[in-house]
């Protein structure tokens, strides 16, 4: 491979950066493999954990929110409703949390060798996407079981929009994770807040209640939270139930793009000098 590069105090051009990442695809592949396998290395149940987590969460939610709190689920079987919300949410939350540790978690490596730093978040996102797809398969298995038993689930052609929604989750998670990881280079406070913040955010994201249940005067809050539209759209396209206001989704896409662009910009600004302040 012919490697030639220029480093300048002024910023580099972004097209060269994309090429740079492509040159390091072997590393990207290796990191994905590592992350994916190390996820269940030294565990007894191994890959089963990918399944246990969402299924157990959905079961607990069905009991607590369905049976005790009696929250409605848009006529969907509670288990499917909660599981679909949980897997999308944990996909997003993992993207944010893992990416936000890019700089702090790889200090030792970053101080010794160069490679495009963006390779790390991308590998994390891809690993999470793979985990998510496994969980999605499990969800589909459960959907089939429920459909056979006559539940009002109606998957149809709208499923083709699903990849777009996943792309939106990726962009939002990557963008936000990049913003946090860039800020934590100087201030560690944010890392303290990430785990806690994501938990609070989940409560405002329609994971265990449908949007239709929220009083009209608070609907604007949900409109500003891009994850609400994402989860609602996910249920709508996959399960064919509920409805989505197109303008609300467009707002969430706009917010997502804003966050993604900001995140990538901040990441690029930090990656060149981050070793100076750790």
């Amino acid at each position: 491979m012919n490697i030639e590069y220029e480093v300048s105090a002024e910023r580099t051009v972004s097209s060269s950066r994309l090429k740079d990442i492509w040159n390091y695809r072997e590393l990207l592949f290796l990191l994905i493999k590592r992350d994916f396998i190390s996820g269940y290395k030294q565990t007894v149940l191994g890959p089963l954990w990918f399944i246990i987590q969402p299924v157990m969460t959905a079961l607990i939610f069905s009991f607590v929110f369905g049976k005790i709190a009696n929250l409605p689920t848009d006529k969907l079987p509670p288990f499917i409703f909660y599981m679909s919300g949980t897997i999308v949410w944990s996909f997003f939350a993992n993207c944010v949390t893992k990416t936000s540790y890019t700089f702090i978690g790889n200090t030792a490596l970053f101080q010794k060798v160069y490679f495009p730093r963006m390779v790390v978040p991308i590998s994390l996102i891809v690993t999470n996407l793979l985990n998510f797809l496994i969980q999605l398969m499990i969800l589909i298995v459960f959907m089939i079981i429920f459909i056979v038993r006559g539940a009002p689930i109606d998957p149809n052609y709208k499923v083709i929009i699903l990849p777009a929604i996943l792309l939106q989750v990726v962009l939002l998670g990557l963008g936000l994770g990049c913003i946090i990881s860039s800020l934590t280079v100087r201030y560690r406070d944010l890392n303290m807040a990430v785990g806690f913040g994501m938990q609070l955010w989940m409560y405002a994201s329609c994971v265990f209640f449908p949007r239709s249940m929220v009083p009209p005067e608070y609907q604007w809050v949900l409109t500003l939270n891009p994850m609400v539209s994402i989860i609602e759209c996910f249920r709508y396209t996959l399960l064919g139930v509920g409805q989505v206001e197109i303008y609300q989704w467009l707002i969430s896409v706009a917010i997502t793009l804003l966050i993604a662009v900001t995140g990538l910009w901040m990441f690029r600004r930090s990656e060149g000098t981050f070793t100076d302040s750790v």
Binding site: M1, E4, E6, V7, R34, V113, Y114, R186, Y187, T275
Partner: protein, 404 residues
């Protein structure tokens, strides 16, 4: 063929001080002023910060294929900062840099190893970091393992390695993945002597293949052995850049003067020394190791000796005494004297050596005298093709016989 590394006007600014609430408000304040100025369309003056520190100031350099650059300078001169910028670990504050070729850096001890990975996985990880394909790594895998002498430990996570094993693997990976440019920061000082020599040989091989190397080492001998060019950094600035012998000699002269402490109450004062007799070349430079040589050391004895003796020693850059000779001098009155040390020949390698004289009285050491400047052995008469290794430079003869 353009230079493999071209750097112009590289500078690096660091901010010192702790990051806390004050720093946070300071940051906000600076940003706000910056935005205000930009809105008012004023020139954004460089934001001053009381705790800034320039680790590197306007450094330019150029390295061509097959060249080895040594970077020298005292602690804190900016050597490591420069290496970090060259290997893209951090961005320069000003200036620009062009690198043509794949670069392998060994910064400080160890390289980019993942502690949880086995040695095997780390070889692949490092290869990928260098931008190699899996197949390319596979073809060199056995070579790397063999070079590292790790044997079965290759399948043990590197977190369980000893520091020697760690550096052996690090070096083997970097040296055997065919980098076009190698950066070595003090790595040759670790590991046992045998492995060190193996590393030096390997680096020389890499250079002979037409690749470039940059090295930082505190062993001036190793640098003289391997480097062609030398960059001397002082307080972040280039003090001197040029041929290794010139720069290294100048550096040694200057640092020797700095190291000369204010004279304490000593028994023997050193005045000066020179190569006398059949001298060829400069007063402190030996250019022919196989001819008789005479050192004249002038000194001032403060007290008379009755049962005196003098021990003359030559010390190399690794503080190894390579020659030591004790002579009784009996009764000596106080006052100036000249010691003449005659040797039939001095077959030692190219490099710089310290002359040391210890004065003894009745077997007890009184005072040690270090002669300055150092003795420089400049050229080799030997026809040996073994490179410039070892301590002695003796024209040996090797004959082969077969008993069949």
């Amino acid at each position: 063929m353009p230079a493999v590394i071209e750097a112009h006007n590289l500078s690096k600014r660091y901010y010192l001080g702790e990051i806390n609430q004050d720093a946070f408000f300071e940051d906000i304040n600076r940003r706000a002023r910056q935005i205000y100025r930009r809105l008012r369309n004023r020139e954004t003056a460089p934001l001053q910060n009381g705790r800034e520190f320039w680790a590197l100031k306007g450094v330019s350099l150029e390295i061509n294929q097959g060249e080895t650059l040594a970077i020298i300078g005292s602690n804190g001169a900016g050597k490591s900062t420069l290496l970090k910028i060259l290997s893209r670990i951090t961005k320069p504050t000003t200036g620009n840099l062009t690198v043509r070729g794949r670069m392998a850096s060994l910064l400080e001890v160890g390289t980019g190893f993942h502690p949880e990975f086995t040695g095997r996985d780390n070889i692949y990880l490092n290869g990928a970091i260098l931008g190699l394909k899996k197949a390319e790594i596979q073809t060199r895998f056995d070579q790397i393992v063999e070079f590292s002498e790790l044997g079965e430990f290759i399948d043990v996570p590197v977190k369980r390695y000893s520091s020697g094993m760690y550096i052996r693997l690090a070096f083997s990976v970097a040296a055997n993945l065919n980098p076009e440019i190698m950066i070595l920061d003090e790595v040759l000082a670790v590991g046992d002597t045998a492995f060190q020599q193996k590393c030096i040989n390997r680096v020389q091989e890499i250079i002979r293949e037409g690749h470039a190397a940059i090295m930082v080492s505190h062993s001036m001998n190793a640098m003289r052995q391997m480097a062609d060019k030398c960059l001397w950094l002082k307080n972040g600035e280039v003090r001197m850049f040029g041929n290794i012998d010139e720069v290294a000699t100048e550096y040694e002269n200057e640092t020797m003067h700095v190291a000369k402490a204010p004279e304490k109450e000593s028994i023997v004062h050193f005045i000066d020394w020179a190569i006398t007799g059949e001298k060829s070349g400069e007063n402190h430079t030996l250019s022919s190791q196989f001819n008789p040589v005479e050192f004249s050391i002038r000194c001032d004895l403060k007290i008379p000796l009755t049962e005196g003796s003098v021990m003359f020693a030559l010390v190399d850059a690794q503080t190894l005494q390579i020659l030591c000779h004790r002579t009784d001098i009996g009764n000596q009155p106080a006052g100036r004297l000249t010691l003449k040390i005659r040797l039939p020949q001095l077959p030692i390698r190219i490099g710089s050596y310290k002359l040391q004289c210890t004065f003894l009285e009745g077997g007890h050491a009184l005072d040690v005298l270090w002669a300055t400047p150092e003795l420089v052995v400049a050229s080799s008469d030997s026809t040996s093709k073994g490179g410039q290794r070892g301590i002695l430079d003796v024209p040996a003869e090797v004959l082969i016989s077969r008993n069949e």
